[in-house]
């Protein structure tokens, strides 16, 4: 088991290294001059050249990359030879000249919003998706199953931005059941926090819950046909034990994987929901960075999201090994 963990961790680190190089190289090959984009209408060739130097874009890509990586561990200084050098402390993910702030600061400000959004929706969708999915599997082919599958298909194909906008229009604007969303930390004003988050949670959870209902149902149905479930019945175990202890234990394991990865993906930012409900999370930050062609910010967010997903993958793999003894050998 220990060897397995070490191997998986090393693999994750390697993957992250490869990915960061790829992101860096790729983003630097994008058409358009990032230095040009720093000054807009006020640009003069001199200013562009100066900005290019300040940003470090006059350096070879490899140097830029090593500067970036060393910045993460020991920090770095931008515009070192100008009268106003910018100190960026470790872990430094770069400096957004567009927003005049460190990328890390921007991200740490936006991350909690996305975190709460993702966690809340996650709990809601896992709870609904898995329980309803199991119920549908146990009622396979009967009317309950049919209705659930129909609803899930509808929820799955419902465009979430449309549904979100409908909710905003009716619940907030027309019926005024909830105030206009404006994010506050749950530690500052829990009531306002809940009032702001409840609709985004619902919108996100519906989309995922619909998917998880199907996933769970199909997974459970498949396992219910497995030979070892028949063995469990042949032992004379009560049906409840057969389903819970034998079928679900095996059937829900792959759902842990899917859930872990989906959560990680969401933690990188839920673009549509954040946009509709004006939540200043990572999704909104990504959109901003892209519309402003803010290269340092885009790079920072992309790498962070990638790291998050790799980390989630690692956690899921390790969890899997705890649950399924066969994995430990592999």
């Amino acid at each position: 088991m220990a060897a397995y963990i070490v191997r998986r961790v090393l693999l994750a680190l390697m993957l992250l290294a490869v990915l960061s190089v790829a992101v860096f190289v790729l983003f630097n090959m994008l058409p358009g001059d990032p230095a040009r984009l720093t000054c807009g209408k006020a640009c003069t060739p001199d200013l562009i050249a100066a900005n290019r130097h300040r940003l470090g874009y006059d350096q070879p890509v490899l140097t830029q990359y090593t500067n970036f990586v060393s910045g993460i561990f020991v920090g770095r200084v931008f515009s070192a030879d100008s009268p106003k050098p910018i100190q960026c402390n470790a872990p430094c993910l770069g400096y957004s000249f567009n927003q005049h702030e460190q990328v890390m600061t921007l991200i740490t400000r936006a991350a909690p919003v996305t975190f709460w959004l993702a966690i809340g929706a996650f709990i809601l969708w896992i709870f609904i998706g898995v329980t309803v999915g199991i119920f549908a599997a146990l009622r396979r082919g009967r009317w309950q199953d049919r209705i659930i599958m129909g609803v899930s298909l509808a929820g799955y194909s419902l465009p979430s931005f449309f549904f979100g906008l409908l909710l905003v229009f009716f619940v907030i604007i027309k019926w005024k059941w909830l105030p206009f969303p404006s994010y506050v930390s749950p530690f500052v004003d829990p009531v306002k926090f809940l009032q702001t988050m409840i609709l985004p949670w619902i919108v996100l959870a519906i989309l995922y819950a619909a998917f998880y209902m199907r996933l769970t149902r199909n997974q459970v149905l498949e396992v219910l046909n497995d030979d070892y479930v028949r063995t469990a019945r042949a032992k004379g175990l009560p049906e409840r034990t057969v389903v819970v202890k034998h079928a679900l234990r095996a059937g829900l394991t792959p759902i842990v994987t899917a859930a872990g990865l989906d959560l990680a993906g969401l933690l990188g930012g839920a673009i549509i929901s954040e946009d509709i409900f004006s939540l200043p999370g990572l999704g909104a930050l990504s959109v901003d960075s892209i519309t402003n062609s803010d290269l340092p910010l885009i790079t920072g967010i992309t790498l962070l999201t990638a790291a998050l997903i790799i980390f989630a993958n690692l956690v899921v793999d390790l969890l899997y090994a705890v649950v399924d003894p066969r994995v430990r050998l592999a």
Partner: protein, 377 residues
């Protein structure tokens, strides 16, 4: 203490069957129509005896076994007929009553040991669970029993193996674990559904020996499902031959091998490989394929493949369903041919390449029995 049934059983008449099945019918509705998996199966087994159920793939052997065990989902299938186990009728009993008998009075070993154990639980836990469903014993006692059972089924180092996961065991060992699990509550009926098909030939013989040994120890009634007629002659007291969901012939083993009356049985027997024949005519398979369970032929289900159907007047083989009739004491046959004709056909067919030749392997034991019996006639 663990085998109160045995004491009771010895007082009963030895002839009284522990399990008897009458006209068992199992149908699965499907999108293409009704699958007639089992259509009128009858047989019985007494304690300490072995009944072999043989037949081609798809003849309904497994479905019959599952129906006896109450493992056919009654919501998606129809089960009719009677299954009497130790004086209790099971088809009309409620699910919970039958569940309590599963694993205690009757147990089953499945065809594929690789997938029949739960991959996430230790062998000991799975064995212990089987004991604890039916008996109020502590976890420690269940574990001790699990270890004891593992050693009885010949697993080396059972104290260590009890903590293994199934994937750490070989196929043969897993099947031993399945046997241990089936026998942990000393059931009076054991159904073994092709317990050795997934295993190496050497392991096959060991597993069959093990079942036979434990059978005499526990005085168990055994139903051995197989399509390998070779192993039947060695271990079975009686044989029931199934075709298209029906029993077409059943008899004590020596009788069936020596004097097969149904042309299908004859075909099965002559397709057993024999050393004394040339490679080219070693196998004499029955021409044609078994019918689809969606549409069984009219008349005798075997008639489209039967070489002798012309010998019955009035096209009866194609039009009239034959019943399973007692041709001789304890010998039941489902066939329109007159008894004398059947006997003649059989003795000719089995003597073609001469009786008394030397034969090899387990497989040949069956043919040897057949040849010997045939030459006696």
């Amino acid at each position: 203490m663990r085998q109160p049934d045995i004491a009771r059983q010895t007082e009963k008449s030895a002839e009284e069957p522990y399990l008897s099945v009458h006209d068992l019918v199992v149908k699965f509705p499907s999108e293409d129509g009704v699958v007639n998996a089992v259509e009128g199966v009858s047989f019985s087994v007494a304690r300490g005896k072995t009944l072999a159920v043989v037949g081609e793939s798809g003849s309904g052997k497994s479905v019959t076994a599952l129906a006896i065990m109450g493992l056919i989902n009654r919501k998606s299938a129809t089960v009719k007929g009677e299954v009497w186990l130790d004086g209790q009728e099971l088809v009309d009993s409620n699910d919970n009553q039958v569940r309590k008998l599963r694993g205690s009075k009757m147990a089953m070993i499945f065809q594929d040991p690789m997938s029949s154990l739960h991959p996430f639980y230790r062998v000991g836990a799975q064995l212990g669970e089987a004991a604890r469903v039916h008996r109020k014993i502590s976890k420690a006692a269940a574990r001790a029993e699990a270890i004891e059972m593992l050693s009885r089924v010949g697993i080396p180092a059972p104290k260590r193996r009890v903590d293994d996961y199934p994937h750490q065991l070989s196929g043969g060992m897993r099947q031993r674990v399945m046997i241990a699990m089936a026998l942990i509550n000393s059931p009076a009926l054991l159904i073994a559904d092709e317990p050795t098909t997934a295993l190496d030939v050497t392991v096959q013989a060991q597993i069959l020996d093990l079942i036979a040994k434990l059978q005499s120890e526990f005085n168990t009634a055994v139903i051995l499902i197989t399509h390998d007629l070779g192993i039947v002659a060695d271990v079975a007291d009686d044989v029931a031959v199934m075709y298209a969901g029906r029993v077409v012939e059943s008899a004590p083993t020596s009788k069936l091998y020596g004097n097969p009356e149904m042309p299908y049985t004859l075909g099965l027997l002559s397709s057993i490989p024999r050393m004394d024949r040339e490679r080219t005519d070693r196998l004499d398979p029955i021409p044609g394929n078994p019918p689809s369970p969606l549409r069984h032929p009219s008349g005798c289900v075997f008639h489209p493949r039967c070489k002798y159907k012309e010998m019955v007047p009035n096209n009866a083989c194609a039009e009239v369903r034959p019943d399973l009739l007692e041709a001789e004491p304890a010998h039941f046959v489902r066939c329109h041919l007159p008894v004398e004709t059947r006997k003649k056909i059989a003795s000719e067919a089995l003597n073609v390449s001469g009786g008394g030749a030397t034969l090899g392997g387990t497989v040949s034991a069956a043919a040897a029995a057949a040849a010997a019996a045939a030459s006696v006639q």
